[in-house]
Symmetry: C2
DNA sequence: ACCTGAACACCGTTCAAGT
DNA sequence: ACCTGAACACCGTTCAAGT
């Protein structure tokens, strides 16, 4: 699909679709340029480097994520945002690992970040607590996402670890990076926040 | 320092020291081989690929981490292990990002993982809860570590986000990836685990 | 002034050729 | 049989040369 005129938006959109079709390894400057039908260097006139381009692609993907807003409870709101961020990133294999490694803080990242901060303030945390708790939550999503991205490929290692312990039933098989695993950790954090806020 | 005979241990030790001196970008097969004074391909006779070598280097670094054992309280034990894992990884810049991206599950990783599992069982979690909570904790350390690794380099982005929200005092400056930030999130998780275990 | 593409300085890994 | 290093198939990015 030839593009009339190169803009940051057309580059990011093309890169996102390329990644959806061909995965993370297709997200090189050269492959993206080939997809655009342009010289690799042409991209550098719109983005200073590859990282900045991937930031833009990640933020584009997050446009799909809704913030339910202040009408739902603070914990429902936080859980909804983070669950949908995880699911959205996993729907875009080209960019999931980048989201995991580097929380997207472009326009959409800032929008969702603001939603989380407001929810935590509504929960009753003091200002420093809001900032700290938000970073902990964002870090947790990133990590859970990284586990989900790596899980399918290579990780019988986890099973060995959980089997290497006595006192535990040997047949509790952890599903690394699963939605269930993600939800459990998220509940721990929300429980902890409730305790911290004195609820 | 020329090495008499190449073994997995000498390769991993040399790579760890190289990384300590010259950082993550020095951890290429070619640079490590040059440091060993051998052909890059010689390393492949001891490790199937670069990832396996980095796994071994990471696990070597974790030999420094103590497990205080079951005599301390379960939460003290978990906090001690995870705090020291974070500090140890940060002391080895060549490998910190790799630890963050991929929980080391070699001999030392398994040892520390077992300590965490035992502590969680002692806290009163049921077996599935133990496995889930352990993965959440490990994911959290990995993410906090990734933030600490990336923080110094480039992240005024975070400050923008926290300033972009009304209702929060604009001068609460989050220190991304700081030890304080790490400790706060860890406390949230431990609080949440205590709630889950009914303590 | 703007844009291109050749070139630089690397990668991890394969594999054929040497000893 | 063992080991080496040339070669393959890539990278992100710089920069000089073209229009």
């Amino acid at each position: 699909v030839p593009v009339r005129r190169l803009t940051p938006a057309t580059i990011a959109t093309t890169a996102l679709h390329l990644g959806d079709r061909e995965g993370a390894q297709a997200m090189s400057m050269r492959r993206i340029a080939a997809e655009l039908g342009c010289d690799p260097m042409a991209i550098y006139r719109h983005f200073p480097n590859r990282e900045a381009l991937l930031d833009a692609v990640a933020d584009l993907a997050l446009a799909d994520v809704d913030d339910p807003g202040p009408d739902s409870g603070w914990d429902t709101r936080v859980a909804a945002i983070l669950t949908e961020v995880r699911a959205t990133a996993l729907r875009h294999p080209g960019i999931a690992a980048h989201v995991a490694a580097r929380p997207p803080l472009g326009a959409n990242g800032a929008r969702l970040g603001a939603g989380i901060h407001h929810a935590l303030a509504a929960a009753g945390l003091p200002p420093e607590g809001v900032v700290f708790a938000a970073q902990a939550l964002i870090a947790y999503v990133a990590a859970a996402l990284a586990m989900a991205v790596n899980a399918g490929t290579r990780d019988a290692r986890w099973h060995q670890v959980s089997r290497s312990m006595d006192g535990l039933p040997g047949d509790v098989m952890p599903v690394v990076g699963s939605a269930e695993q993600f939800g459990y950790g998220l509940r721990l954090l929300l429980n902890g926040i409730a305790v911290e806020a004195g609820r």
